[in-house]
């Protein structure tokens, strides 16, 4: 009993060690987003709070937390307050199986990839219920749009991951990264290039980010599912969205870009120096690049029309993924890439 209690406490500590940096990363991701968007719009972005505006996220957090939490009339109060937590919990829980290095992982689960898929697919409940419980037309429409979109793109995303699973022959994330080891051209982005692109675009759609942000659609339905949320509830929705974006970026770098492996390994001269060694820093760097891509997309692309989103998901992505899964099967049988 004492043993199990100790295990529990030790696991809790490890969870905190992962959750805290993720939360701080989310806070600074919002700052980074405003900076990047500002620069791409020929503006400067936040620079008033602290040096270079670096304390801006904390100012935002305190502002949000001190604001009044307004529950709309006739809203379902329990679900209204539960919804933000429902969207945040899966986004944070999925980090349990994300390996940061070949030894640095909280739970080295066999079906890790499947667990992440299951957890990310649950994030939609927060949006759906938040939209319904608000007792507002805009919120309901936003919630329904988000649900339909997420369910559609989950299929394309799952199929894209099937390609990875076919090549790696395992569902364990650590093993998937190790199966890619070699040099930059044995990483799965090359043999699975279409799946890689589809995975990332589906990830953008899953997190309801621009250009797939019809769930918020400021110009049509004000702010979508979180119209009625204020203060802490809104902050938690915000936190969940950005945690999901970072998660998608981390997965993209794990599954297609070799995780913690160094891009220089296997290259004659540079590969023999410290640059050739893998490590957490490579994983964080790759994740940061994908995070930047999210923001770059938002600064560049106009919002999709709703029916075009559905068309892209069902009529373009799913057929391409099915074709490329077969190609990946051929790779596997011929033994060209890993396996």
């Amino acid at each position: 009993m004492i043993d199990q209690l100790l295990t529990l406490i030790w696991t809790m500590t490890k969870i905190m060690i992962i959750i805290l940096p993720v939360t701080i990363a989310v806070a600074y991701y919002t700052y980074f987003e405003r900076k990047v968007l500002g620069y791409m719009h020929s503006r400067r972005g936040p620079n008033r709070v602290g040096p270079l505006g670096l304390l801006q996220p904390f100012a935002d957090v305190f502002k949000m937390l001190f604001k009044e939490l307004i529950v709309p009339t006739n809203a379902n109060k329990f679900l209204f307050l539960l919804a933000p937590l429902l969207s945040l919990a899966p986004a944070l829980a999925a980090w349990a199986v994300v390996p940061f290095d070949d030894w640095l992982v909280l739970a080295d689960v066999d079906a890790g990839l499947l667990l992440i898929l299951a957890l990310t697919s649950m994030g939609v409940y927060g949006i759906l219920l938040g939209g319904w419980a608000s007792n507002s037309k805009y919120a309901l429409i936003g919630g329904l749009r988000a649900a339909a979109q997420t369910v559609s793109y989950e299929i394309a995303m799952g199929f894209a991951l099937v390609g990875v699973i076919v090549l790696a022959g395992t569902l364990n994330l650590t093993a998937i990264v190790e199966a890619q080891s070699g040099n930059i051209f044995t990483w799965y982005w090359l043999p699975l290039l279409p799946l890689f692109v589809i995975y990332f675009v589906s990830g953008v759609a899953e997190t309801n980010r621009a250009p797939f942000d019809v769930a918020e659609g400021e110009s049509e339905i004000v702010a979508g599912f979180h119209v009625e949320y204020s203060g802490a509830g809104f902050a938690v929705f915000f936190l969940a969205e950005y945690a999901n974006m970072i998660l998608i970026s981390a997965l993209a770098s794990l599954l297609f870009m070799g995780g913690w492996l160094s891009p220089f390994s296997g290259i004659p001269v540079v590969g023999d120096t410290f640059l050739g060694e893998g490590g957490v820093h490579w994983f964080l760097l790759k994740t940061a690049v994908f995070c930047f891509l999210f923001l770059w997309f938002r600064a560049t692309f106009p919002r999709y029309r709703y029916d075009q989103i559905m068309r892209l998901g069902w009529k373009v992505f799913i057929p391409i993924t099915i074709v490329w899964i077969m190609v990946a099967g051929v790779f596997r049988v011929m033994g060209w890439f890993g396996g």
Partner: protein
């Protein structure tokens, strides 16, 4: 293993309570949410039995996809609880009949197989992988059943698409491609005629 037992009774308690709530709560949205909760508790129990692949798949398929669509539909319904209750007495005999039949069936199953308790699955070694075990079984021993299930699902998909993918004349569906391609001649007819003044 007291913790495992505590967790088991916790999850199964939640499972039974939420399953009961599915059929007792008035609000259909709440019923759907309780159904999700019971799926989730069932997945947790499977997880305790070390069937993590099955547990995660249950969450992924039923909680993550099927119930989202279910909620989606239920949310758009405007169910009046009072009008649903009106038919209660009329449908009571049929309902009781179905319930009795199910009870008898359950009783027969339990009667023939007995109520022995199954032991906890023995902890296998680190190399043991449920996922690959299931894969091997599915693609060797149960291949026929698996393929037949796949075909049945395919038929269902095609049937669903065929039902919805017909052209309905009463909808005012717009085809943007046709609107863009339109030529002047299709919309405008220039008529030569004398002006009114000339006629006089």
């Amino acid at each position: 293993m007291p913790i495992i037992e505590i967790l088991f009774y916790l999850f199964s308690g939640v499972l039974v309570l939420s399953a009961l709530s599915v059929i007792t709560v008035g609000n259909p949205i709440h019923a759907a949410l309780f159904l999700i909760l019971s799926f989730f508790s069932a997945a947790c129990i499977w997880m305790l039995l070390q069937a993590e692949f099955l547990a995660i798949t249950l969450v992924l398929v039923y909680v993550g996809a099927v119930m989202v669509l279910f909620l989606f539909v239920v949310m758009m319904l405007d169910v009046h609880v009072a009008s649903v209750r009106e038919g209660f007495a009329r449908y009571l005999p049929a309902g009781v009949l179905v319930a009795l039949a199910m009870a008898v069936q359950l009783f027969l199953v339990i009667w023939t197989r007995g109520m022995e308790t199954m032991p906890m699955p023995a902890g296998e070694g680190d190399e043991y992988s449920h996922t690959s075990m299931i894969g091997e079984l599915l693609y060797s021993e149960y291949l026929y059943a698996f393929e037949i299930a796949a075909v049945v699902l395919l038929v269902a998909i095609i049937a669903a698409i065929a039902l919805t993918h017909r052209r309905r004349p009463e909808t005012k569906h717009q085809d943007p491609a046709r609107q863009v391609r339109v030529k002047r001649d299709e919309r405008l007819r220039v008529v030569k005629m004398k002006s009114e003044g000339e006629e006089a």
